[in-house]
């Protein structure tokens, strides 16, 4: 129900502003302090998203995420040291998450002889899980086809909004603190351009980890002078490299054995309650669940 209302709201808004296809081609950046673009950046708060676009969110902060007990079990087993083992160190941000994390988008269109777009390519999310959006009506691949960090995406324009569906995703995460997303997740994404602002809203449906649709939206602002693909360092160890997508799959932590999977056993995650204490909410609020996504939950807590 909430998903349907959200969709109607998005489409209604789009219809009132742009009745036709809007051009999303170009360079887009995340609004941020210090980014001067005619004052546009100042229009945006940079509060909620700041941590996602920088070092990442607090551990054991799942507030507002409609995760089920399986997802919670995996999220609490998550040890961020996992990112320091060679098998994980170079993983890209998957499409379930990537627009929320650090990203500078360069969107290009591939045109047919009538100048209609056959597809869009969106590059510039963390470690380049470049997304191709096919507009030519093709089917999604076989169930036996490989899954990728970007997934396979098809789309169409509707009342000035580009609506896309992404499948064939890799196992990934919907928040960068261990909240998992399965390889069976589907992402529905809405792209709306309003002047110099591109709003991207995406809905993650995951039959294995979510009890409800997970919804996020972010804004990007047009970057007339383009983006620099070397504008942030991928890994500290890569400092000096000007290649946006380079990563060396090295060990960044001590490993007691060649193959090592850092994780916490049930009940042993030392960070449960840390964030709750910092922001002054009960621990259960930080453990998430669909009810924590609604405004009434605040009242529930106060009671």
């Amino acid at each position: 129900m909430i998903k349907r209302l959200f969709c109607l709201a998005i489409l209604g808004q789009a219809f009132s502003v742009h009745a036709q296809e809007a051009d999303i081609v170009g360079s887009w950046n995340q609004p941020a302090p210090g980014l001067s673009l005619g004052g546009v950046a100042a229009l945006f708060g940079f509060i909620e998203d700041a941590i996602e676009r920088a070092d990442g969110p607090p551990v054991v902060d799942f507030l507002g995420i409609p995760l089920n007990e399986e997802a919670l079990s995996r999220a609490l087993a998550y040890d961020s040291a996992l990112l320091g083992v060679p098998e994980h160190v170079c993983m890209r941000h998957p499409s379930q998450y990537s627009y929320w994390g650090p990203a500078q988008l360069r969107i290009a269109a591939q045109l047919d002889y009538n100048l209609d777009a056959i597809s869009y390519t969106i590059g510039g999310t963390f470690r380049r899980a470049d997304r191709t959006i096919w507009l030519d009506g093709r089917d999604h691949p076989s169930e036996y086809a490989p899954h990728t960090w970007a997934g396979f995406t098809t789309g169409h324009w509707e009342n000035g909004t580009l609506i896309t569906t992404t499948t064939h995703l890799k196992w990934g995460w919907i928040r960068r603190n261990g909240v998992p997303s399965s390889d069976q997740a589907t992402v529905t994404t809405y792209y709306q351009r309003n002047g110099d602002v591109l709003t991207i809203t995406w809905f993650v449906d995951d039959p294995h980890y979510l009890t409800d649709t997970y919804i996020k939206s972010v804004d990007f602002i047009v970057t007339p002078r383009g983006i620099s693909t070397a504008s942030f360092t991928v890994e500290a160890a890569d400092t000096g490299s000007d290649v946006f997508s380079q990563c060396l799959n090295r060990a960044e932590i001590f490993r007691p054995e060649l193959h090592y999977v850092p994780h916490y056993l049930p009940g042993e995650n030392p960070f449960i309650g840390e964030w709750a204490e910092e922001i002054g909410v009960p621990v259960e609020a930080t453990l998430g669940g669909a009810e924590t996504a609604y405004p009434e939950y605040k009242e529930q807590l106060q009671e």
Binding site: C90, M91, Y144, P146, H147
Partner: protein
């Protein structure tokens, strides 16, 4: 050792093993045997990369490497689909099938052996040249297929379906179609006769049932499988795979069942086995819980929905592995 004495030695070795198995038959019969996933029956052919194709939908995944010298097949799918499979291979290449490797004795991987063995083909080298397909498997697959009988004492597997070349070395290598191919024994994983096959030039690794992204690890304890063997096999495969830039592509891994994977997919699955193993060690070895208590503790929570399936449930998996953690397997 002359060829004759070698054969004699192997006959005695096989007879001894048969005796051991017969002696253990009572206890083995109580062990849970994993059932492979349902068969869609809708055959699909996908080009993987290089000279390698996947034939899916007719049981376990079938892999085909084809070029000038002919066709090299890994596994033959489930029984009853041979005609479609052979027709699909013929569309990939009009050359004869020269080699077949069975990754294990699992039913959905050997079901078309007999029909494929009846085709004109044969090895491209040695005395077997041109006679028939050279069917390779780890020797325990050959042994089990040759001695397997049903309750009426009839052979389970027709002789034509047996591998013709049961290797016993840790690893077998050969060049075919200009490509180095490794056939590597994975000890005591799904069973005691598992092989993985690595096509070096095409950079495709075929895992057989030691890795399937459709279910929890399938382990046939009655045939020498073990959970630790599965984990070791997954690690070994990760030593072979090399990801392309940024953890995608590179070496592709064809699982026993499920979609074409790469190293990142294999890592995700391997990580799951580590976490589940560590949870089970704590529950069974450190806390000494009973099987029922272990089930209640839900050590597979996090993957139950994704990997549990009616033919190989979470409970079946736990019942199968419980004894191993007690040191009884």
């Amino acid at each position: 050792m002359t060829p004759y004495t070698l054969r004699l030695f192997k006959t005695i070795q096989s007879a001894s093993l048969a005796l051991i198995l017969c002696m253990g038959a009572t206890s083995l019969s109580a062990q849970i045997v994993p059932t492979e996933p349902p068969i869609s029956g809708e055959l699909e052919v996908l080009h993987v990369q290089g000279n390698v194709w996947l034939i899916a939908g007719v049981g376990g995944n079938i892999v085909v490497q084809a070029s000038e010298q002919g066709v090299f097949v890994v596994d033959t799918g489930a029984n009853g689909f041979s005609e479609e499979v052979i027709a699909a291979i013929a569309k990939i290449s009009d050359r004869p099938i020269r080699y077949l490797v069975n990754t294990s004795i699992a039913a959905q991987h050997i079901g078309g052996n007999a029909e494929m063995a009846g085709l004109t083909g044969g090895s491209t080298r040695g005395a077997e040249r041109g006679v028939r397909i050279n069917a390779i498997a780890q020797e325990n697959v050959l042994f089990r297929m040759s001695v397997g009988r049903n309750s009426d004492g009839e052979r389970i597997y027709p002789q034509l379906a047996w591998p013709t070349d049961g290797y016993y070395e840790p690893q077998r290598g050969q060049i075919f179609n200009g490509e180095a191919i490794d056939i590597i024994h994975m000890p005591n994983a799904y069973s005691d006769g598992d092989s993985i096959v690595y096509f070096r030039g095409s950079n495709v690794l075929v895992s057989g049932d030691v890795f399937s992204n459709t279910s929890l690890p399938m382990i046939d304890y009655a045939k020498g499988g073990s959970f630790q063997g599965v984990i070791s096999a997954l690690d070994r495969m990760l030593d072979i795979t090399i990801s392309d830039d940024l953890a995608e592509g590179g070496t592709y891994v064809i699982p026993g069942h499920g979609y074409i994977s790469d190293e990142a997919d294999l890592v995700e699955y391997r990580d799951m086995t580590y976490i589940v193993r560590d949870r089970l060690q704590r529950l069974i070895i450190e806390e000494g819980l009973s099987l029922e208590q272990v089930k209640e503790a839900q050590p597979v929570l996090g993957w139950e929905s994704r990997y549990g399936r009616p033919e190989w449930t979470v409970d079946m998996f736990l019942e199968a592995v419980y004894n191993e953690f007690q040191g009884k397997n």
